[in-house]
Symmetry: C2
Subunit: 634 residues, 2 copies
């Protein structure tokens, strides 16, 4: 008998002790980090309101109860009863029955109403029909991404259950080694921005944290070929954790499956969906530009199929000796600080991913309160000694002034920006400014993938700031649905006619003017001296955006060049990254304060400045690692 089966025997015995004798337990198995209990008495189980919580606390596991397939009400009958139990206002849009597992997926406009107070309505559903309900939100703005991911996962449900069962057995295997150590190997993003990738290793477990690309003339990948990375076989990696969906952290996650990886990807649910959106777009752009993409779209689907979504704050077993907890990082939708608890109280390492410590319109500032943490791996994008940014209030003021002045000149405002992140932040700011009469009511055109990314944001209001979340819950008040926002769906003809029309605001990808529809907008608006070009994203060296910031007047477009007559402005307070002050504040108020900090994900000088600054300020051991180094902590 394998060590997992022995362990399950014990678990079964413990369940039997706790469960009343009239409730039968027909099977107990692991699916990913969850323990699934099958019963022939799902209704009685549901009536015993406290039972699942008691079991979870006793076994220290996340527990799901499922009915044995042959005790289920027929789907047709069940559907009717379920719709009777759920209040009308929940806005159920779809019911999907999975007889193999006894689950029913309920899609609704207001998932909270389906769940009920403390899960009361859900329990009622099971008491009535035996089925185990799972609730998802109907996207308030139709989202192709969310729809595609959900349909794909529905279609792959059986395959996915096999994966989860395999992962579950891996997680709950007996540790093999008596040795104790914790190490971090840097595979990328050290003394540079881009290609985030780390290996966290213990005697029993190897975890890859992030796997991004580094954009540039020749795209650079992290050092995956090292023997301590995937060189010794992709199957030597037990788990992958993804901090957020931006390409410099996620672009090469699908590549892992091309290399033979077949394990879980832990991330938040929005990160999973945005990873799908952004990596598919990454493949499209590679094709458009005549480059050979490193993998095909089939691998993106594999990544989605292997994703195990976690919620902020849930402590999850991901290996025999590692528990993972994701915490809000405040950077973009679903971004997570990944906290690893290793061994039984042995050591704790937190990877910041990208963080914004201050609250923004869209997100709460990053969490920096942990039960324990000895080592922090911290981003340093703005870690340089002079990397202080305008605060958001001033930046918003500047934006309002800029829009007003441009409007007064009868001009339009073009804001190139990445689809995921600043675009939605600006939408919230502009919507409020219009509502409060601080700027005139102009149409705001959303181009590129901004509309689609916004739809994904609306699907996951729980990941947004309280204010925006509450407004989305109240459908009429959803800021993203304000009348001003218009989705550009046509091609260059539509753009040209908008540009020729009345004053407006355009938010368009890409953020650094490297390709994307923003280049077309430049063609139509570029020679208009009354209009304004406003940068809100970081403009990397060598990009067209940076060159324009530096004074370039001739901009290449499809047919030749345009003499840039627009007023060029830079608004630097809308960053998704903490600036130097924010990074210091993050560490200063961190609870507990770590012993060691590895400063990564910044140019060489930024990482070294931050490392030296934190050392002098807090007298902790700090490092500015290079790529391909291994640090041992215990």
């Amino acid at each position: 008998m394998s060590t997992v089966d022995k362990q399950l025997e014990t678990v079964r015995a413990e369940i039997a002790e706790e469960v009343p004798p009239d409730i039968s337990i027909s099977d107990v198995k692991y699916e990913g980090p969850e323990l699934v209990i099958y019963t022939r008495d799902p209704k009685k189980f549901a009536r015993n309101g406290d039972l699942i919580r008691r079991l979870a606390s006793k076994l220290r596991k996340r527990i799901t109860v499922r009915p044995d397939p042959d005790v289920l009400a027929r789907p047709e009958d069940a559907e009717e009863r379920i719709l009777e139990v759920i209040p009308e206002e929940a806005g159920v849009t779809d019911l999907e029955f999975h007889p193999e597992t006894g689950e029913v997926v309920i899609q609704a406009r207001k998932p909270g109403v389906v769940i009920g107070r403390h899960g009361k309505t859900l329990r009622e559903i099971t008491q009535e029909v035996g089925w185990t309900p799972e609730v998802v939100r109907t996207p308030p703005i139709e989202s192709t991404t969310v729809e595609n991911v959900r349909n794909f996962l529905k279609q792959e449900r059986e395959d996915r259950r096999d994966i989860l069962e395999r992962v579950g057995r891996q997680i709950h295997r007996e540790p093999m080694s008596d040795d104790e150590y914790v190490r971090v190997t840097t595979l990328g993003c050290c003394r540079e921005v881009g290609r985030s990738a780390f290996i966290l290793s213990t005697p029993d477990t190897r975890i890859l944290v992030d796997c991004g690309n580094k954009p540039g003339a020749t795209e650079e990948q992290p050092y995956l070929q090292l023997p301590e990375a995937l060189g010794s076989g992709a199957s030597t990696i037990d788990a992958v954790v993804l901090t957020h969906a931006h390409l410099d952290h996620a672009a090469l996650i699908p590549l892992l499956f091309e290399y033979g990886y077949d394990g879980p990807i832990y991330c938040t649910e929005p990160t999973r969906d945005l990873m799908g959106l952004l990596t598919l777009d990454y493949l499209d752009r590679a094709a458009d530009e005549g480059r050979t993409p490193p993998y095909d779209s089939e691998m993106v689907r594999e990544a989605i199929k292997h994703a195990i979504p976690l919620e902020y704050g849930d402590v999850t077993d991901i290996a025999p000796d590692v528990k993972l907890t994701l915490h809000d990082a405040g950077h973009v939708l679903g971004s997570a600080i990944s906290h690893f608890h290793i061994g039984d109280g042995l050591y704790n390492v937190a990877f910041s991913g990208d963080v914004q410590y201050d609250d923004t319109r869209l997100f709460d500032g990053a969490v920096n309160d942990f039960p324990r943490v000895e080592t922090l791996v911290l981003e340093s994008t703005y870690g340089g000694r002079n990397d202080y940014q305008t605060d958001q209030e001033d930046a918003e003021r500047k934006l309002i002034d800029l829009v007003t002045e441009t409007y007064d000149r009868d001009g339009s405002v073009l804001i190139p920006t990445a689809a995921v992140g600043r675009a939605q932040e600006l939408m919230v700011v502009l919507e409020e400014a219009m509502r409060e009469g601080e700027i005139p009511e102009l149409p705001v055109y959303l181009d590129g993938m901004i509309w689609e990314a916004t739809a994904v944001h609306s699907t996951y209001p729980e990941f947004l700031s309280d204010d925006v979340r509450d407004r989305i819950f109240d459908e009429a008040d959803n800021p993203f649905l304000a009348d001003a926002f218009e989705h550009v769906e046509g091609g260059d003809d539509e753009r040209e006619s908008i540009a020729d029309g009345d004053p407006c605001i355009v938010l368009s990808t890409t953020g650094m003017l490297e390709g994307g529809p923003a280049r077309s907008w430049l063609e139509y608006l570029g020679d208009d001296a009354d209009s304004t070009l406003a940068f809100v994203d970081y403009q990397a060296k060598g990009t067209l955006g940076r060159r324009i910031q530096n004074g370039w007047g001739e901009v290449p477009v499809d047919d030749g060049t345009v003499d840039l007559e627009m007023d060029v402005q830079t608004l630097d307070g809308f960053s998704g990254h903490a600036d130097r002050q924010g990074l210091e504040n993050f560490v200063r108020t961190m609870n507990p304060r770590p012993d060691k900090v590895l400063c990564v994900h910044g140019d060489e000088s930024a990482s070294q400045d931050l490392s030296s600054g934190l050392y002098h300020e807090f007298n902790m051991r700090t490092f500015a690692p290079q790529n391909m180094e291994t640090f041992r902590f215990i």
Copy 2:
């Protein structure tokens, strides 16, 4: 055509340009680091005295010329002519013909005479008979080890040539990567003494430096199972370099072959032979103590077969991007500082192995003069802030006094010591003291493997200090052949009768009284208050030696215990290791001084003390690594 074959084509063309048209070149191939040129005109080649040197300098390779088998004189005829050419005084003891390669191995008491001034006699031999001579020394003291190694290599000659050819092609392959980095991974001996092992890695090459054990209650091995070590397959290692034969550096070299390693072991010739002697003894002791040895003696033979002996100072290609040079480390016979030149002027790393910077009786102090060196990996055995040792002159004085006083009491002196190292040093000191009348002429009994290890020393006088070397060359003056030395060949009966007899000196293994015949000597001499027990080796924690130093009076022997009445003394000036002062001197006078020093092979406090001391004294970057870390240098 493979990249090696293409490269050989070019080499052939360059040879053809240089060689006169009347000398035919029938084949050119690599054997290990050497380029072997086959010719049908070996005699003409030999007559062209300067030709080989010119080719070596043009091609920047080590060159061997061999005759085509079918132009050779018959061995019987050749033997006669060879013996006519070589002067009688050379003392030829054996001739061994290898028709497959046209080589004749000449074993002689005085190899220098066989070689002649600048190789004149060797060239004469080839001119006369066409065969390529290779000269080895007839051991002045019969050595089973040397004889066994030579016989084994003779028998495996063909197999060995295949290995060398394969290794040669590996070394001269085209580099595959455009990337540039140099890294060192620590697999053992960090913040501890024992289990030396490092990986030196570049994008093209991975080299294992040393592979020792850590003796103790449960023997600890270096972290070979890590993916960046052998975890990704032993064949991912391109080469192994062995700094010296002591078990904490060499014990697990044969294990590599059990794991599937099939590449070269670079070391000096005496290191190869001593590794054979010490690892076979290691297996015997394991068997005696009822432990399962990690490999069997077949693997020791594999290691010897794969050894490629290098001479001090020879710059040798061992990979497309790595040149290795061994330098005298002054620690034990054949010990070498291993200097790696990486890339074409890219970077240089030197591993000290164990070093003694001061001259001793037996060895010149370590070399610390290099063309370039940016990083030094330095041992720290005596790196602690108080690790200063008596200088050798005082230690010798103390030994002489101790012997004299014991003799005056009519007692004997028992000196437990390791077979390789201090034993031979003491022999030289005692021989001189007797010759100069400073101590009475007592018999000195050599027990355990000391006699055999001494025979190996005598076989390689070129590796000893000038003084001892010259005395060995002059057979009558060989200090190891002095009348006083007697080899204990019988068992405990002989020991008991010696102990019961007249005063004497006994040198016996093991050095820390952990097993070995020294324990029997304790049984026979232990209760004699007139006798002296003198420690010269480092006594590790937990060993019987250390306990006796700390005052233990009851010593366990085969039948019960002995009340220890002997006078216990410690003489600390005979170390093969530089003390703290010696390590600082080594770095201070090092030319050039390195940028970085990794302090390894010392207890935690010794390594950290040395690291901090060197940093403050020389303002260089210093580290006290932990095991399983990776440092990147470029």
